[in-house]
């Protein structure tokens, strides 16, 4: 019959087309050209997730092919022909088939019940941690702060922003908090996301497999600049990580270049109102001295006008490789992506200058409502001096 042949052709063609569609998804697996790819695991937890997702996608893919091809096949196979006459050879009136229906209620339920076991297993697995280091991760509009207590004495000894640094192979317990609205911390290569909710502390375990800089993105809508609220996770080999901790727990050198010295004074008068460089406050006067420990309550101490009472700690600015919520590199060329404890390269001053000249042109912010950095109306000389100072902070 003509219908039968056409239906077979339609079914096969649709199978081919649908398979190509599925292939478009499958080919993303492991693609490193996409920095946020969820299908390219580089951490223990995402491997767990990936291994759970694989059979689920596989079964879903099969059902997809069966249903789509089935529907198309039927639409062609049982199509009314032009020469069909109503009342002659009309279809058999089937009202249902209880056995069949109970069957296709139970079979999917059974399949799902089996998958449910793996679901439960994975949920529990990705929450496990062994001898973890703890990092407090604080979200605010629109950047992330990380606090370490490296010697476990109960006081914060490192406050940094934008780039969180962890040792490879070690479980890291991220304690997520928020200073204003809900944000979501997400480094897709390592683990799924978890919200940082004001008034609560949530725990997310991350274990990086291999050294690298992994990108992330805030995934809970958090207002104006949500779309560009990014973060990075730098995984270092354990020895390198120790070096990083050493660098971060010692004080930066005082500036020697006159331009930078002028910049430091400018920093104290213009920036210290919100930004902390350990040891400096708006009231500090020369000779300036850095302190070894940051003030965890800095925003309250200096009474910052910001809604979140917090701005990025700049003490070791140049130990990071990006700034402005990971939007802009701090170093030129490859140095911005090198996986070393202490970044080594030529600072990208023009990015810093652009930022200081008009922060809102780089990243949408709402300083009139105390959200984000205001334009300080600095002169070009002042910007030069400030940048000269900022690049000494390492």
């Amino acid at each position: 019959m003509r219908n039968k042949r056409n239906a077979a052709i339609a079914g096969i063609v649709s199978l081919v087309v649908m398979t190509i569609c599925l292939w478009l998804i499958v080919r993303n697996i492991g693609d490193p050209a996409m920095p946020l790819n969820t299908l390219a695991p580089a951490g223990k937890q995402n491997w767990e997730i990936f291994n759970l997702v694989k059979p689920v996608f596989f079964i879903a893919g099969l059902v997809f092919l069966a249903v789509e091809a089935g529907v198309i096949w039927m639409a062609v196979r049982f199509k009314r022909n032009k020469d069909d006459v109503d009342g002659v050879g009309e279809p058999t009136q089937t009202h249902g088939n209880t056995t069949l229906e109970i069957g296709w209620t139970l079979v999917p339920a059974l399949v799902l019940a089996i998958l449910a076991v793996f679901n439960v297993k994975t949920v529990l697995e990705i929450e496990k941690s062994e001898n973890p280091i703890e990092v407090r991760v604080i979200g605010q509009q629109w950047w992330w702060e990380y606090r370490y207590d490296t010697n476990n004495d109960g006081t914060v000894d490192i406050i940094t922003a934008t780039q969180v640094v962890v040792p490879v192979g070690r479980d890291v317990k991220m304690k997520l908090q928020s200073n204003d609205v809900i944000h979501s911390f997400w480094i897709p290569a390592i683990n799924g996301k978890l919200d940082a909710v004001p008034g609560r502390t949530h725990t997310l375990i991350m274990t990086a497999d291999k050294p690298g800089i992994y990108q992330g993105q805030c995934t809970e809508y958090c207002g104006l600049s949500h779309g560009v609220m990014r973060m990075e996770l730098k995984a270092l080999p354990p020895a390198e990580f120790d070096k990083w901790v050493d660098a971060m727990t010692s004080v930066p050198d005082q500036p020697t270049d006159p331009k930078a010295i002028a910049g430091q004074e400018l920093f104290v008068s213009q920036c210290a109102r919100c930004h902390q460089v350990d040891g400096l406050t708006p009231e500090s006067s020369p000779p300036f001295k850095y302190s070894k420990l940051p003030d965890p309550e800095y925003g309250q101490t200096v009474d910052s006008t910001l809604t979140s009472k917090n701005a990025p700690n700049l003490t070791h600015l140049m130990m990071r490789q990006t700034f402005a919520g990971s939007l802009l590199p701090l170093y030129q060329g490859k140095a911005a992506e090198s996986v070393t404890a202490v970044p080594d390269g030529v600072p990208d001053r023009s990015n810093l200058k652009d930022w200081l000249r008009d922060p809102e042109s780089v990243k949408p912010m709402n300083p009139e409502n105390n959200q984000g950095m205001p334009n300080l109306q600095l002169s070009e000389t002042q910007i030069d001096q400030l940048v000269a100072y900022l690049v000494t902070l390492k």
Partner: protein, 697 residues
């Protein structure tokens, strides 16, 4: 509430004694043609059509917002919209599509079809039906005026606290969101109560619950869901409003509030809301597929049962929207498992639709194309839904474009395709002429292709890590190609929508130039609404159909032979109604629903801007209530009154409204109401045998 029952129908009907002085101001409108007959109507069919028109308008508004979004995201770093405007646009797009387009469009079908499908002359409370339309519309317009009064809401449709607080969103957009949704919620609650009562109480003789058409069932489940879901969001919205307008701190964590309260309340409403949007379309498709396959729906009890199961289970899975919120391992596990199994009743529906098609004689007319489209597209949305029922997988997928793809496959590929199918299917019943088939097919194929081009790539983008609600992305993130494709797809959908409008306009013109009566039953269909002329006469049925089985109308036309094959037993012309009854009492139109509804936006502006606006608002509402209670239950020229919340008024059939003086027979009718169960009229008693079942239901 008392307003409804203050009319004492029992005591009336005794003729002259009850003729009250018809106060001029409280007279009822009488227009049967022109715009007045629409504004003041209480006819469920006109109300349904107005829901549809308004919903379609807002579909275009929401669609334009979608085009702005897609244009902004077509290339990396586009500057068409600023972050601020973009955030407003995507918020308004979501709210508009959900509350102003899809929900009212399902209301349109529910309003138009429920009474027809259960064999009733109108809904239980016709004036309240008009009231719910106008309140909803006033809320919808109020909500959209925010564009001109300082900017739209910018918190996302889910509007998570504390970002929705005054501290973080100092403009008025979110005030409009809270107040606007409360107003629309009032309208929807009234409508849901009304339709629930209608289905429970107004079924024609013999129409037991398990004989109702599947669309009626699904729309009924929807109304019940609305009845229970709306108060929950109302609480949340009131708390939000008190936070924003009266300085309460329900959601302000820094002052003791808990942002999770909002999330829980919102999603306890929000998840049933998903089924509120999708179930009516499931119903529509369950009507269309049997008609065009010329087979009964496969497994009617399973279809109904799975719909009810979805409705029930929908209440137990809300926290799957919160897997990444940090609700704790135990909650995640419980909700994850519950969510996995809600796939089962949905799967049953898909397979039963396929089984209905199997072995049929399928006419691939436009309504059927849209229905098959729904089955195929919704399956994709359902399957992607299963993939993120797995909580760990969801931790990767949630708040990425994978989710955007998922719910558009559900709500566009599911709800909207079904609604378009429904429009092509019932157009002749509603307007007395077909939509052009050829253009309809183009409409379908272009929409299907555009839809898949837009939302198919979003699966890929999401898995590649593109997050939701982002106003931009950069070169090097690998999102360029598929975003461009999605934008092309969005404009393709726009073309299909334009084609639909052209089709409507051209078909109407062709019909005006050369009217061809489609007849009562143009598709050789199965449910009671096809027993009456097209367009449906104002009084619906000359006589209420007595129902003996599912697909009553079909079985009056067809039987089957010993092999179970279809055999015609009666000509359609012989079993349909003429629609020419003139002695049917219908409720009179009323000014007051509209008057009352007009008060609500003023109350809204009053709350947001200046309390003085409350004065006209409250006055209008009080005037509306007052007029409602004191208007005569029919137009003054008529001889006697009836409780007007039942279609008992003796306004002559509007079609030939000239013969208005009530005849003796009519007056007699009025008098015997309630006592007319004379034995000789019970000729069709067997049909009533199963009314016991009804009471159980």
């Amino acid at each position: 509430m008392a307003l409804v029952e203050d009319h004492p129908p029992l005591e009336l009907g005794s003729g002259a004694a009850t003729v009250s002085k018809p106060l001029g101001v409280f007279a009822r409108p009488t227009a049967t043609h022109g715009w007045k007959s629409w504004l003041f109507t209480v006819d469920h069919k006109k109300i349904g059509i107005m829901y549809g028109v308004a919903a379609f308008f807002f579909l275009l508004v929401g669609g334009s917002e979608a085009l702005l979004i897609r244009t902004q995201l077509a290339v990396p770093g586009a500057k068409l919209l600023s972050a601020d405007v973009y955030n407003q646009v995507f918020t308004m797009h979501g709210v508009t599509m959900i509350f102003l387009a899809v929900m009212p469009m399902q209301s349109a079908f529910a309003n138009y079809l429920l009474p027809l499908q259960i064999g009733a002359r109108d809904v239980a409370f016709p004036r309240m039906n008009a009231l719910s339309l106008w309140i909803w519309l006033s809320g919808a317009i109020f909500f959209n005026t925010s564009w001109f009064l300082g900017g739209g809401a910018n918190g996302g449709w889910f509007n998570y606290a504390p970002n929705s607080g005054v501290t973080f969103s100092p403009g008025h957009g979110i005030d409009f969101y809270a107040v606007g949704l409360i107003i629309m919620g009032i309208g929807s609650t009234v409508s849901a109560i009304n339709l629930t009562v209608t289905v429970l109480n107004m079924r024609s003789p013999g129409m037991t619950l398990m004989r109702m058409p599947v669309f009626t069932w699904m729309a009924f489940v929807t109304q019940v869901l609305l009845v229970f879901a709306l108060p929950v969001i109302t609480v949340a919205l009131f708390l939000l409003m008190f936070d924003r307008l009266f300085d309460a701190t329900f959601f302000d964590a820094s002052k003791g509030g808990d942002p999770f309260l909002w999330q829980n309340l919102f999603w306890i409403f929000g998840h049933p809301e998903v089924y509120i949007m999708i179930l009516p379309s499931f119903g529509i498709v369950s009507e269309i597929i049997p008609v065009f396959s010329r087979k009964p729906i496969f497994g009617y009890p399973f279809m109904v049962g799975s719909g009810i199961a979805i409705g029930f289970m929908g209440w137990g899975v809300w926290a799957h929207h919160m897997f990444a919120s940090g609700i704790g391992t135990l909650s995640v596990l419980a909700f994850s498992l519950a969510t996995m199994f809600i796939a089962v009743p949905t799967g049953v529906k898909i397979l039963n639709w396929m089984a209905t098609m199997y072995g049929g004689r399928i006419r691939l007319s436009t309504p059927m194309l849209f229905s098959i489209g729904l089955v195929a597209m919704f399956t994709i949305g359902g399957l992607s839904g299963v993939t993120h029922a797995f909580a760990p997988a969801d931790a990767q997928q949630t708040d990425t474009y994978y989710i955007v793809a998922h719910f558009h496959y559900v709500l566009f590929g599911g709800a909207l395709l079904g609604l378009f199918g429904g429009m092509y299917f019932w157009w002749p019943k509603m307007f007395g002429h077909f939509l052009n088939e050829k253009m309809g097919k183009w409409n379908f194929w272009i929409m299907l292709v555009g839809f898949n081009l837009t939302f198919g790539p979003m699966h890929i983008l999401g898995l590649q890590g593109m997050m939701r609600r982002t106003y931009t992305y950069t070169e090097g993130q690998g999102f360029n190609f598929w975003n461009l494709i999605a934008t092309i797809g969005a404009f393709t959908i726009a073309v299909s929508l334009i084609l639909f409008m052209v089709n409507v306009a051209l078909s109407y013109r062709r019909h005006k130039a050369n009217p061809v009566d489609p007849g009562p039953d143009p598709w050789d269909a199965r449910s009671p609404e096809w027993m009456i002329p097209s367009p449906a006469p104002e009084h619906n049925f000359d006589e209420l159909p007595v129902v003996e089985e599912v697909d009553e109308f079909w079985h009056r036309k067809y039987g089957h032979d010993e092999n179970g094959r279809l055999v015609r037993i009666a000509r359609t012309e012989d079993v349909v109604q003429k629609g020419d009854a003139t002695d049917v009492h219908l409720p009179s139109p009323s000014y007051w629903p509209l008057v009352m509804a007009c008060g609500f936006p003023f109350v809204g502006y009053g709350l947001i801007f200046n309390y003085w606006w409350l004065v006209p608002g409250v006055l209008l509402i009080i005037l509306g209530i007052f007029g409602w209670v004191f208007e005569p239950s029919t137009d003054p020229s008529a001889g006697h009154h009836h409780d007007d919340d039942y279609p008992t008024d003796d306004r002559p059939d509007a079609v030939d409204g000239s013969e208005d003086a009530p005849t003796d027979a009519e007056a007699g009718d009025g008098e015997v109401d309630g006592s007319s169960d004379d034995a000789d009229e019970r000729t069709l008693e067997p049909a009533m045998a199963s009314t016991e079942e009804t009471t159980v239901g």
